[in-house]
């Protein structure tokens, strides 16, 4: 075996220039694959994280039927035992109870339909970035009753600024008319234009009073360790719910709440993988070409060893080993270059500027390129490269081992 390995190694480097070029092509391909898969992983993780931290959280517990109906009819009782049980669930990094209702906001003659977010001022920041997005003024607080924070675009359509009084108007859970004057205490800027046009944030106690909602909330948003941990956390909580919630409840992950995000990522991944497959196929032909050339050059030599009694299977193994060694060289050098590069960029995200950044901001994405090296990335690359080398070597190896010694000796 070790003899075969030594032989193969020598054969590979018989033509250093040709082998070097093929190795270089493999290195290039491995580098690109690892680099771009890491970039996609980083960008997608950031997209998910940004979206999740906009408001939904990784996991959302809500009244049964909330996702389809989104009315006050679907609620949870936020009693202390329920809160404690959720907070004590392993993997819960933050929780934000909310009352979300729909209403009208009116100032002078302007009226606008809004999504009223009743949030717990202390706990909202543990899940969403809403409190950090305040551009001017302050976020809602329990100390200032009937304060309201408006999305920037909403404040512009209404012509409402800090200190102005706006009328909030809706139908309460008790089916009476709900109306209350609120004072604008802050303006938030939310990257999602549709939400920015309709977002009005008030404090949870004010929302419960306004909607005559008692201790109810429509949802409790949770932050998991990361996006990948969401399904497991959702399952854990779903199993606990019948025991801890006094009203029918349901659990959803970010994937269920934002299917369009999931689809966008899938499409993006699909596009990238098609490019990478093309790249890998080119590399496969490079390896095929190199090995086939070296086999054809050695027709006579291979004929001699076959004539001397070397078994065809051993010849096959030899050629195969050469191909694998070639791939291994490319893979090792490629990974040695790509992994440090990716790790560097993982620590130093690239902030875009100019027209590219404007385009990304339009879609509500922060114009930052981030990388993330997940373990399956180099492992997957290695498996791919070896698989490709194995397939590419099949034809030359078969050709070499099936040759008849007599024909081989006669040629050249």
């Amino acid at each position: 075996m070790s003899l075969e390995l030594r032989l193969a190694w020598r054969n590979v480097w018989r033509n250093p220039r040709r082998t070097g070029l093929t190795v270089a092509a493999t290195v290039f391909a491995v580098f690109l694959v690892v680099f771009f898969v890491a970039l996609a992983a980083g960008l997608h993780e950031k997209m998910i994280e940004d979206s999740v931290r906009l408001h939904s959280g990784h996991v959302m517990v809500s009244g049964e039927g909330w996702l389809e109906n989104q009315t006050l009819e679907q609620y949870l009782h936020l009693d202390p035992s329920f809160e404690a049980a959720i907070a004590a669930t392993p993997g819960v990094r933050g929780m934000a109870p909310r009352v979300i209702g729909f209403g009208l906001l009116s100032k002078d003659t302007a009226t606008q339909g809004v999504a009223l977010f009743g949030v717990d001022p202390e706990r909202e920041g543990s899940v969403s970035t809403l409190p950090d997005r305040v551009q001017r003024g302050r976020f809602v607080s329990k100390d200032v009753p009937f304060g309201i924070v408006l999305g920037e675009r909403l404040s512009q359509t209404l012509g409402a600024d800090l200190g102005d009084t706006v009328l909030v108007y809706s139908v309460a859970y008790s089916l009476e008319m709900a109306y209350e004057l609120f004072t604008v205490v802050g303006i938030v800027k939310v990257p999602e234009p549709a939400l920015d046009r309709a977002l009005a944030v008030i404090s949870l106690p004010d929302a419960q009073e306004f909607f005559v909602y008692g201790d109810r909330v429509t949802e409790v948003a949770l932050l998991a360790e990361d996006a990948d941990a969401a399904p497991k956390l959702a399952r854990t909580i779903a199993a606990e719910l019948p025991r801890i919630s006094s009203s029918p409840a349901e659990v959803h992950t970010w994937e269920e709440m934002m299917p369009e995000l999931q689809q966008l990522i899938f499409l993006d991944d699909a596009g990238m993988y098609i490019m990478l497959v093309i790249l890998v196929v080119v590399v496969a032909f490079g390896i095929l070409n190199t090995i086939l050339m070296s086999v054809l050059e050695r027709t006579r030599e291979l004929g001699v060893v076959l004539a001397l009694g070397l078994r065809p299977r051993a010849v096959f193994r030899l050629i195969y080993l050469e191909s694998m060694l070639l791939a291994l060289c490319g893979l090792l050098i490629g990974l040695a270059l790509a992994i440090p590069a990716v790790l560097y960029f993982e620590a130093h995200p690239v902030v875009l500027s100019g027209s590219a950044s404007a385009g990304m901001e339009l879609f509500g994405i922060e114009p930052v390129m981030t990388w993330k090296l997940k373990p399956w990335n180099p492992v997957g690359s290695a498996i791919t490269v070896f698989a490709v080398a194995a397939i590419a070597a099949l034809y030359p190896a078969l050709k070499a081992s099936r040759g008849r010694p007599v024909d081989a000796l006669r040629s050249l």
Binding site: L104, S106, T111, L167, Y169, S174, L175, E176, Y179, E180
Partner: protein
């Protein structure tokens, strides 16, 4: 394959129609569905009307039904109306003014008038199962629909009538209508409305209004009790009981003014 699925669809439609009009008798010849619809519209709207009524909202959310008392002035030809809430005390003095195509709501407790935008038209009116759209209904059950006489129901499920015409209202393509169709039962003798079933575009029945306590008012058989049951919300019902109704009165112009909104009686 396609032909067979089309056949199944046709079959299902026939079955659905049969289920709906299963016990209908064919209508007598020479009857015009639109003429019947006109009579119903005339009973409801007249030229102008003044009404004093109580609305009762029943819901599983409420320990006791919620009662809202109001007066309403409706000026049909000029497409305007005015409603003043009298009770409950919390909402007393609240007023709604509709002057086509706008709807305003005055709230005395905060001394504000708010214009209700078109996007809120399908929201609940005063917490009831009626919508703002029902209140200001721009669409006309006469002009925005085609009328089709389905037949005669020999046993309408009400003590008010022995025989009823069943009419289907199909909205015109471009009509500002939220319903897919309306099926209406009309007393064959007095042409009084008995019942209306409202369907969405997919043919799902969404709500039913039953009219009862039909009493003669100025020559019209007018239902004094309307019961609306939304079929998608279990345990909900909204009842309107009309205490007084008068037709064809000459109204003071001042009633339909924004100033009247803020007046306190």
């Amino acid at each position: 394959m396609r032909a067979s699925s089309a056949a199944i669809v046709v079959l299902l439609m026939l079955l659905a129609d049969a289920a709906q009009g299963g016990n209908l008798e064919p209508s007598p010849p020479g009857l015009d569905a639109r003429a019947i619809a006109e009579k119903v519209e005339e009973i409801f709207r007249g030229n102008s009307s003044y009404m004093h009524a109580t609305m009762t909202v029943v819901s599983p959310r409420l320990p006791t039904p919620r009662r809202v008392e109001f007066r309403a002035w409706d000026d049909r030809p000029q497409k305007r109306s005015f409603i003043r809430i009298l009770a409950p005390p919390k909402d007393a003095g609240m007023a709604f003014l509709k002057i086509h195509p706008n709807l305003w709501n005055f709230i005395p407790r905060v001394e504000r008038t708010i214009r209700i935008p078109p996007s809120m038209m399908l929201q609940s009116w005063m917490g009831s199962d009626f919508t703002n759209d029902d209140l200001v209904r721009e669409s006309s059950q006469l002009d925005d629909y085609d009328h089709l006489l389905l037949g005669v129901d020999p046993d309408p499920d009400t003590s008010e009538s022995e025989r009823a015409y069943v009419i289907e209202y199909r909205p015109h393509e471009d009509a500002p209508v939220v319903w897919g169709k309306i099926v209406s039962w009309v007393d064959a003798e007095r042409y009084a409305p008995l019942r209306q079933d409202f369907y969405d575009e997919n043919g799902t029945k969404l709500r039913q209004i039953r009219f009862s306590e039909i009493r003669e008012v100025q020559g019209r058989p007018y239902p004094h009790r309307w019961s609306l049951v939304p079929l998608d919300k279990e345990g909900h019902e909204t009842l309107i009981e009309i205490e007084e109704i008068r037709f064809d009165e000459k109204f003071d112009e001042d009633i339909f003014s924004k100033r009247n909104l803020t007046r306190r009686d």
